[in-house]
Every structure is written in structure tokens, then in C-alpha cells.
């Protein structure tokens, strides 16, 4: 029997959630509604001439080959960031979990990059990889003869932003994986070891399945990160260039709306992104929160 304490007052609960509702309405729903309205209008930046044009902004968007290219770019980028940051994060977590000496120090050091803002991480990597003044770039050009030029070549620029974005996310994944790993009972692994399973096999048949809830959660979070939080990295490092090779969806919203002052078009893009994030959130709630259990 669960003990419940009940409030007799009918208004009190509403009063208590009021601040939260006010904040949500002003900072989330109101701008979202504004965005929705803007996306069906054609208007000048100063809002002096506005015409209602139904869904013309959306049809124009999906007819635009550059938008479709931007979708492809974003998907490619997100997959690369997610795969590389998860695999490296998992690898490091497995190693760190086994470390005997200075465990705490190693872990703390590995978590640090997560505290770095994406824009700063972009600047740090740019100082390493810029073809004109990046230390590493100058080094590999001089000593290894690699013709590294992200300012000119789209593929190099893509590699560069993937590295900068994934680097930061590795720490995030590391934290979750190390927590997940610690929840796996030692006895299972020891039993397998006694049965003669190799370390790799133990990892593959015991650790990975037991880690799957974490893995799923981390994947979703990484995709969201790669889609929506990497604006700073792109802005600092490539500005969507060269030749639009790193123009991700979020960056395109900024370029068309804030730089180009095309309000209707960029609002339509934001609505598309909003729909996308709603879908991802629904999936996450349906599968992650309900079906997967966080147990060892």
C-alpha cells in the first residue's frame, strides 16, 4: 500500500506548476508559434510587407537541390560523428574500466572535453588544422607531404568538422559507458573467463548485450547532438564551405535567415527541423524509456 498525501486545495497544484508553464510558454511555445506563422508568409526582414502564401516556402524548399544536398550532408555528417564518437568512447571506457592505477584521474581527465563549448572546440581544432596557420596541418603538409586543404576541398573540410564534433562527444559517451560497464556484474565476466572465453569474446557476448540500453540511448543523444548542436563547430571552422560541402541543415537555417534575411524560407527550414526533433523524441520515449530497462 502506497501512502499518498493529498492536498485539499484545487488551485494550489496549478499555482505550483505555474512558473514552469509560464517559462515553457514564453520560451518554447511562443517562438515556435512565431516560427510556424513566419513559415507560411513571405515577408521582408523588417516585417513591413507580409503576404500569406500557404505552403509555397515548403514546396520551394523541397524542390531546391541545395536543400536536398544539405539533407544528405547532414545525414552523412551525423552518422560519421555518431559512429566514431561511440566506438572511440566505448573503447576508451573499456580501457579505463580496467585501469588499475590512477583510475579517478584518468576518468576525470577524459570527461573534461565535454565541458568545452562546441564553438571553442571548433577554434581549438582550427588552430590545429587550418591549412594556413594550423600547427598540425603545416606539420603533415611539410613532413608527410599530405595535401591537406579543408579551405579548398570539401572532403577535407568534412573530415575536419567531424573530428571536432566527435571529439567533444566522446567524453559524453565515455561517461555513460563507464557507468554502464560498472553496472555489469563482475561474476558474469569471471564465469566466462573460467569457461575459457577470450577477452574479445567476453566483450562481444556479455558486455555489449548488457550495455545495449546505454548504447541505444547514447546513439539517440549523439544523433540529436550531431544534428542540432554542432552549429558552433561549423560556424567557426568552415561556415558551411567550401562550395557548400559542410552546409548542414542547422547551419543553412542560420545562413538563409540570419545572414541572408530570408525569413520565410528559413522559418520553413526550422519547422522541418522542429518536426524532425519531435519524431526523434517520440521514438526515444517509446523505445528507450519504456522497453529498455536500465538494469545490469
Amino acid at each position: 500500500m502506497i501512502k499518498r498525501s493529498l492536498f485539499s486545495s484545487k488551485t494550489l497544484p496549478y499555482l505550483l506548476i505555474l512558473p514552469q508553464i509560464v517559462v515553457t510558454l514564453t520560451f518554447f511555445y511562443w517562438p515556435a508559434a512565431q516560427g510556424l506563422m513566419q513559415s507560411v508568409m513571405r515577408s521582408d526582414p523588417f516585417g513591413q510587407h507580409s503576404t500569406f502564401i500557404w505552403f509555397a516556402n515548403f514546396t520551394a524548399l523541397f524542390k531546391d537541390p541545395l536543400y536536398l544536398k544539405s539533407i544528405a550532408t547532414t545525414v552523412f555528417f551525423s552518422v560519421c560523428v555518431t559512429v566514431s564518437s561511440i566506438s572511440i568512447g566505448l573503447f576508451i571506457a573499456t580501457m579505463a574500466n580496467r585501469a588499475l592505477k590512477a583510475k579517478a584521474v584518468v576518468r576525470t581527465a577524459l570527461i573534461w572535453p565535454y565541458a568545452v563549448a562546441p564553438a571553442i572546440s571548433g577554434i581549438l581544432w582550427l588552430f590545429l588544422l587550418h591549412p594556413s596557420y594550423g600547427i598540425v596541418a603545416l606539420g603533415i603538409k611539410r613532413w608527410f607531404g599530405v595535401d591537406w586543404n579543408p579551405v579548398l576541398r570539401g572532403s577535407d573540410a568534412m573530415v575536419m568538422i567531424i573530428m571536432a564534433s566527435a571529439w567533444k562527444e566522446i567524453s559524453y559517451n565515455f561517461v555513460f559507458f563507464i557507468a554502464g560497464l560498472q553496472a555489469i556484474p563482475k561474476s558474469l565476466i569471471e564465469a566466462a573467463a573460467i569457461d575459457g572465453a577470450s577477452p574479445f569474446r567476453r566483450f562481444w557476448t556479455i558486455t555489449v548485450p548488457l550495455l545495449s540500453p546505454t548504447l541505444f540511448f547514447v546513439t539517440v543523444m549523439n544523433i540529436i547532438y550531431a544534428f542540432f548542436d554542432t552549429f558552433g563547430v561549423v560556424h567557426v571552422m568552415t561556415q558551411g564551405g567550401p562550395g557548400g560541402a559542410t552546409n548542414t541543415l542547422v547551419y543553412k537555417v542560420y545562413q538563409d535567415g540570419f545572414i541572408g534575411l530570408n525569413m520565410g524560407g528559413s522559418a520553413a527550414q526550422s519547422v522541418v527541423l522542429m518536426t524532425l526533433i519531435i519524431v526523434i523524441t517520440v521514438i526515444q520515449f517509446k523505445y528507450v524509456e519504456q522497453k529498455v530497462q536500465y538494469t545490469g
Binding site: F46, L66, S132, L152, Q255
Partner: protein, 442 residues
């Protein structure tokens, strides 16, 4: 009881002081949002301070709002929220958007209505023409204006046995090609690189060779204009640069200025095309070599090259403020174009002095004998009367159009497209933007 009386008395005193303060006519605050930071920001602050100290009716408050695009954005957002500043600095590509915004108080009108009879003929015409409407009325106050010039590394030129370039007569592109060959032979890793490629290699190239950039007099005479940059001459120019990339006579250092400047400073590029405002940066950073300035190259078939066009920004006055405020705004704009202010501005930043009087004074003072490279840009800008083709560009969504041109040029540099394909595609994409823009104001 006693404390209560004390509080009453205190309250009375505060109240009286408050009323007295109101009566004693506070100076009116004039807000100016700009994009000038670092050394330029300090120069701006000094100019503001000079104005505030010279009178007591107005106080100008300058606020740095970020890069040009961020400042324009701040202005847009503020105008929508009815909290607009009096003066907004906007870059030259935003001219059409600002002009049609319906949010501005045209400068020619402001000055006339506030009783300033300004002789606009006394200003640098190629600068004014960029900010005039079709009737020749000035819509915004020119502030920081620049133009592209060619920098070259004197030491590397000497090493390759190349004579120094003239400061008034431009070299031809063919000659520059030969210079490039000599440079590469002498062991320099790269010949020419340039910043702001759309501005320097397409917009200014077109203006100086009197080639229309867009129909309808570059957009001055109608929103239904179309881009014309896929003409044989511009295509040939881009194709030539692409050809030069093969042996390193030209190489690409990035869209803006950071990459190309770094290459010039590291002596990877012996020649560097960029705005005259790069002078300040080079003076500070180029320590281990000598450099000099020459006018932009022209084609050998262009016997009398036209003026180059400007870049930079101008000051727009927003509508919707009190009448009294505008008196102060006008006084401040007048102050900024004062001769001493313009001379100070030019010396400190390298941007043009916008009045002819200031330019003449600088000449008389022997300033250009001491710093001859400071005069290259202004001479190139004023070498001929602007034509309808070389006076400027007036395009809607020009910011996107520049981005499109930049993108397409990058696709030429990295072998994805030929010059013709890229410029055709740039025209096609830009025309779509122009049509979208036209629809807004129909």
C-alpha cells in the same frame, strides 16, 4: 514616530530631487549600433567623445553589436520590437534591403529637414553613388568605405628580379601572369592569392572593365534585374585564374580575409589582393619583409579602366523616433563628416576620407608623400567618373548572391566545375533569389 517622520522627509527630498532633475533637461541619448571593434572601435569612440564634449544637448552612445551581419540582425530584431537605435551601421551588400525596408529616414531628407544645407558634390562621388537611390538622392551616410588593391612582397619581387609596380598605372593581367611565372621560378611557393573573391574578382573586375554585373543598370533601375556575370569576359578571367592554379601562380586561401592574409604574411603568396583596410593589419603584422601597394590589375584591352567599387558600410537612420532626437542625429552625422574627423579616421583606419576637402588637406599636409601606399586606393577609386555600370551594385538578397558566387567559385577551384558551368549556375541560382526578393515588394 520619529523614524516615520525621518522616512517622510527623506522621501520628500528624493522626490524633489527627482522633479528637479526632470526639469533640468537631460541631454537626449542618441544610440548608434556599429560593427567596429578593436583599434577601429577605439577610433569610433574617440569620434563620439569629440561630439559629446562639443555640445550638451545630446549624448551619443555607440554600441558594438558584432560583425556586420550580426549588427544588421540586431537592427532588424530591434525594429520589429520597436526598440530600434537611431543609427545603424550596415554593410554595402545590405543596401537594397535597407533602402526598401520602409524603416529608414533617408539621410538627404534628414539633413534637409534639420536645416543642414550640405554640398554633396564635395564628397567622393564613387562612394556616394553606391548609397544613392535612382533619383540620385543619398539614402544613407557613407562611413567606412574601402576598395580592393593589390599588395605585393617587395623582397620576393627583388629576389625574382622584378621591378617594383607603379602606384597609379595598373599592370595588366598578362603582365601579372609573367610576374607570377618569374616568382614561381625564383622559388616562391605561391604567386597571387586574394580575399573576398566575389568582391575583388567578380564585382570589381566587372566595374573596372565596365562590364554590367546585372541588368537594369546593376539593379539600380528595377527589381526585375538579372545577373549577367556569365559573360565571356568574366568567364575568361575566372578560367585564367584557374589555369594559373596549375603552376601555383594563383592559389585559393579562403572566402574572407583570414586565410589569404595569413598566406601573405607567411610569404607563401607574393601578391595579395584585398581591401585597403588590410593596410592596418599589414603595418602591424608584416615584420620580416617589406611590402607595397599597387592598383588592381586590368586587362590589356581596357585602355582606360573605370573606377573600382567600394566595400565597407554606411550609416542608416531609423524612423520612428522623436523629432528632437533627429536634430541630434543630423548634428552627429555632420560632425562625422567634419574635415578633422575624416582626416583622423583615414589616418587611423585606412578607410577613405569621404569629403574631397579632407582628401585635399591630406595631400597638402604631405601625408601621401610620407605614406604613398595610402593613396593607391583613393586614386583607383576616383580615376574616372563612375558610369551606370561602375557606380555600384543594387541587388536584393545580395548577401545570398555573394554566397552563391563564393560557393560556385570554390567549385571551380577544386575542379568540380569549369568557369563557364560555375558562373552559369551562379547566375541561375542568383536569379531565383532575385525573383523571390522581387515578390516581397510587389
Amino acid at each position: 514616530m520619529k523614524t516615520r517622520r525621518m522616512i517622510m522627509v527623506a522621501a520628500m527630498i528624493v522626490f524633489t530631487l527627482f522633479i528637479a532633475g526632470q526639469v533640468m533637461a537631460e541631454p537626449i541619448t542618441i544610440n548608434w549600433w556599429h560593427s567596429m571593434k578593436g583599434p577601429r572601435g577605439q577610433v569610433v569612440d574617440t569620434m563620439i567623445k569629440a561630439f559629446n564634449d562639443s555640445q550638451s544637448d545630446y549624448v551619443v552612445v555607440g554600441s558594438y553589436k558584432g560583425d556586420y551581419d550580426e549588427t544588421v540582425n540586431a537592427g532588424v530584431a530591434a525594429y520589429r520590437a520597436k526598440k530600434q537605435p537611431h543609427i545603424l551601421q550596415s554593410f554595402e551588400v545590405g543596401t537594397q534591403t535597407m533602402m526598401l525596408s520602409g524603416a529608414i529616414y533617408p539621410v538627404y531628407k534628414l539633413m534637409k529637414e534639420q536645416g543642414y544645407d550640405i554640398n554633396w558634390k564635395g564628397y567622393l562621388q564613387p562612394v556616394l553613388s553606391y548609397y544613392m537611390n535612382a533619383n540620385g538622392d543619398l539614402m544613407s551616410m557613407p562611413f567606412n568605405s574601402s576598395t580592393p588593391v593589390m599588395y605585393y612582397n617587395v623582397d620576393l619581387f627583388k629576389k625574382a628580379g622584378i621591378p617594383m609596380l607603379d602606384k597609379e598605372t595598373p599592370v595588366t593581367w598578362d603582365e601579372l601572369g609573367e610576374i607570377g611565372t618569374k616568382l614561381i621560378k625564383s622559388g616562391v611557393s605561391g604567386g597571387l592569392t586574394c580575399g573576398w573573391q566575389s568582391w575583388t574578382q567578380v564585382e570589381n573586375y566587372s566595374a573596372m572593365h565596365n562590364i554590367p554585373f546585372a541588368s537594369k543598370a546593376n539593379g539600380y533601375e528595377g527589381l526585375d534585374c538579372e545577373l549577367l556575370i556569365n559573360n565571356p569576359k568574366v568567364v575568361a578571367h575566372i578560367a585564367m585564374l584557374k589555369e594559373w592554379m596549375k603552376d601555383g601562380r594563383f592559389f585559393y586561401g579562403g572566402q574572407k580575409f583570414q586565410g589569404p592574409t595569413a598566406e601573405f604574411l607567411a610569404q607563401n603568396a607574393a601578391i595579395y589582393i584585398d581591401s585597403i583596410s588590410a593596410i592596418a593589419k599589414l603595418q602591424k603584422s608584416a615584420k620580416d619583409f617589406k611590402w607595397d601597394v599597387a592598383p588592381m590589375p586590368v586587362e590589356s584591352w581596357m585602355k582606360n579602366p573605370q573606377n573600382s567599387i567600394i566595400g565597407g558600410a554606411s550609416l542608416w537612420v531609423f524612423n520612428g523616433h522623436n523629432k528632437k532626437d533627429y536634430k541630434g542625429v543630423a548634428a552627429f552625422l555632420k560632425h562625422l563628416s567634419r574635415q578633422d574627423m575624416q582626416i583622423y579616421w583615414h589616418k587611423e583606419t585606412g578607410y577613405f576620407p569621404i569629403t574631397l576637402a579632407a582628401y585635399e588637406q591630406l595631400k597638402k599636409d604631405g601625408y601621401y608623400r610620407e605614406f604613398p601606399y595610402q593613396e593607391v586606393g583613393i586614386k583607383q577609386l576616383t580615376r574616372r567618373e563612375p558610369t551606370t555600370v561602375s557606380r555600384g551594385l543594387r541587388l536584393g538578397y545580395f548577401i545570398q548572391i555573394r554566397n552563391i558566387i563564393n560557393e560556385e567559385l570554390e567549385l571551380v577551384w577544386n575542379d568540380t566545375k569549369t568557369a563557364q558551368e560555375a558562373l552559369d549556375s551562379a547566375v541561375k541560382r542568383s536569379n531565383q533569389q532575385l525573383r523571390e526578393f522581387e515578390k516581397i515588394y510587389k
